[in-house]
Symmetry: C2
Subunit: 316 residues, 2 copies
C-alpha cells in the first residue's frame, strides 16, 4: 500500500538492521514487493498469526514498546512450539499512533529483534504505518515441521497422560511479557517421545484442555493437587483461589500435551527438558473434564476454568 | 492470544467456510495453533504483508466491508504478481470495531473469500479480535516463485525498455477497490520473456519507477505522451493535469517492468497478455529520471511524481 516519506525512512532503518540479522533461508529480505525464502524441501511449512492491540491485549504504559514488540513475536513462537516446529522467519504489520513518534516503532522492533536473534528468526518483511489510532502489532511467523510432522490438537487417545511444562496462573502480573516460548522443550519432546496431542496454553489451562478434548473427541480427568500453580497465582489476593487462577487465567504459554503412560513415566524420570514437567491427569473415553480434588470429591471442570469464568472478556 | 466467546464463534464460522475452500497445499487449516502447508519442494516461498487501516487507507462508508476485505487480499496478490509468483495461501489478522457487530467480520471475509477463490488461494489461519478502535485488516499472503525465480526490483539494465500494463491515475475514484491483480499477466510475462525488473505500482508511477532506478543503480527517460492515462484521471477536475495524476496518484496496481528492447518489441507486437501494455521509456546509465514532453522539452521527474507531490500523506 502507499507509504509516506516518514514510513520510507523507517522502512529503510528496519531494512538495514534486518540485513544484519538475516539467516540462510532468506533469498530476498525487506525492500522488494515480497520476501523470498528457501525452506527445507521436505518439511511442511507452518504459519501462524497473532495481533496485539493496545487497550485490549496491553496498556502502554505500564507496558513498554520493547515489551510489546517482544511479546508480539513471543506469542507466535509459542504457537510454532505447540506444533513442535522450528521457526524460520517473520513478517510484521504495524500501525503506530502518531504521537509515539519515530521512537515507538524503533523500540517495538528492538524488542522483537532481540527475541528473533535468540531463536534465529529472520524478520523478512513488514508493513509499517502511522495513524491516529492505538498501537496494533500483527506478526506472522513461518516455521518448518520437524521429525514426524506437526503435532496437532486432535490426536489425544484414551489412556494418555496429560502433562504440562512449567506452572500456571497469574501471568498478567508480568510473566506474559517475559515468558520464554517453549520451543526447545517442544523440539526435545517431539524428538524423544511420541507426542499425541499438544498446544500452548494461551486461553487458560481449562479452556485449552477442552480444545484438545473437543478436537480429539475424548474426555479427561484432572487431579487438582497435581496442577502446578505459579508463585504469581499464589500471591493474588482477590477472593479466587490459586487453583482457580491456574485453571482460568491464561497467557501462561506453557505446553499442554498428551503421551502414553509409559512415555509419560519416562519423561518424569529424566530431566530431558531442563524445565519442570507435571503429570496432571488422564485422557478417558467420553467428553468433558472432571476435576478430582484432594479430598476425593469431584467437580465438573467448565470450559472456561471456573463457573464464574470470563466468557466475554479478553484477559490478555 | 486469548479469545473471547464471541471470537470463538466467529472463528468457528470462518473455519467451516474455509474448509470448503481449502486447496491441496493445506495440510492443517484453521483451528490448530498453526496452519501447515505443503509447498513445492523446489520453489522459493514468497511472502508479503499489507495492513489496511480504517481512516488511513479507506473510510467506511463509503467503502463497504466486502470491498475492504477484497482489497486487503488484492493488494497482497498484486505484490506476489510483482515477483511473478503463484499465490497459495493467506492468513488474516483482524481488529473489528465492536459496533460493527458480527456482520462486519463476516462481510470482510466474504469479500476476501470471493477473490481467494478466483486465484485459488486458501485462507489457512487468522486472528480475529473485536475492539473499540477502528477496523484493521492485516493479510499475509504466501506464494511460490515460478520459472527462473522471483523477479526483483534491482535488475533493470541500461538500454531496457520501461513498460507497463493498463493505465494510471485516478484510482481513488473507485478502481482501487475493484482492480484485478495482474497475476496472470505477470506469470505470462515471466514465462514468455526475460523480465529484468518488475514491481506493482502502489505508491505512484513516478515513485515506484524511482524504486526500480534506486535499487538497480540506473536512470531513466520517460516519454510523457506514451504514459497510459486512465479515464478516471482525465475526469478529475482539480487543477492538476491528467498526466500529473497518472504519475503521482498511486494505487494503480499495474505492473511496471523492464525488458530488453527486442523482447519489448515482441510484446508490443503480440497480444500475449489480453491486457494493454505500453512502452513508456528507457533505462539509461546514471540516476534519476527525465520526462520528455511532446514538444521536445525535458523536465526532471521528481521522486513523488510532481513538484507539489504528496510527501507526507497517505493517498490510500
Amino acid at each position: 500500500v502507499t507509504n509516506s516519506a516518514g514510513e520510507f525512512a523507517l522502512i529503510e532503518w528496519i531494512r538495514q538492521r534486518a540485513a544484519t540479522h538475516a539467516n540462510q533461508a532468506v533469498g530476498i529480505g525487506i525492500g522488494d514487493d515480497a520476501a523470498a525464502l528457501r525452506l527445507s524441501p521436505s518439511a511442511e511449512m507452518l504459519v501462524t498469526v497473532d495481533v496485539l492491540l493496545e487497550g485490549v491485549h496491553f496498556k502502554m504504559p505500564p507496558a513498554t514498546p520493547v515489551e510489546v514488540g517482544r511479546k508480539a513475536l513471543a506469542v507466535n513462537l509459542s504457537d510454532i512450539a505447540a506444533m513442535a516446529g522450528q521457526p524460520v522467519a517473520a513478517v510484521v504489520g504495524i500501525a503506530c499512533p502518531r504521537d509515539g513518534g519515530i521512537d515507538l516503532p524503533r523500540e517495538l522492533h528492538e524488542g522483537m529483534q532481540t527475541l528473533a536473534d535468540e531463536f534465529k528468526v529472520a524478520i523478512v518483511g513488514g508493513d509499517t504505518n502511522i495513524w491516529d489510532g492505538p498501537l496494533v502489532v500483527s506478526v506472522t511467523l513461518f516455521g518448518e515441521a520437524t521429525g514426524s510432522g506437526p503435532v496437532r490438537r486432535d490426536s489425544a487417545r484414551p489412556g494418555d497422560w496429560i502433562m504440562t511444562t512449567g506452572s500456571f496462573g497469574g501471568s498478567l502480573a508480568g510473566q506474559h511479557f517475559t515468558f520464554q516460548p517453549r520451543l526447545l522443550e517442544a523440539l526435545a519432546l517431539h524428538r524423544e517421545t511420541s507426542l499425541h496431542a499438544m498446544l500452548d496454553v494461551s486461553d487458560g489451562l481449562a479452556a485449552d484442555l477442552h480444545h484438545i478434548l473437543d478436537e480429539s473427541h475424548v474426555g479427561a480427568i484432572l487431579q487438582a493437587d497435581e496442577i502446578p500453580i505459579s508463585e504469581a497465582a499464589r500471591l493474588i489476593n482477590d477472593g479466587r483461589t490459586p487453583l482457580e487462577h491456574a485453571l482460568s487465567d491464561g497467557e501462561d504459554f506453557e505446553l499442554l500435551f498428551t503421551v502414553s503412560p509409559e512415555e509419560g513415566r519416562q519423561l518424569l524420570g529424566t530431566d530431558t527438558l531442563g524445565t519442570p514437567i507435571s503429570h496432571i491427569g488422564e485422557i478417558i473415553d467420553g467428553s468433558g473434564c472432571r476435576l478430582v480434588h484432594g479430598d476425593g470429591s469431584e467437580t465438573n471442570l467448565p470450559r472456561l476454568g471456573w463457573e464464574h469464568g470470563f466468557a466475554e472478556t479478553d484477559s490478555g
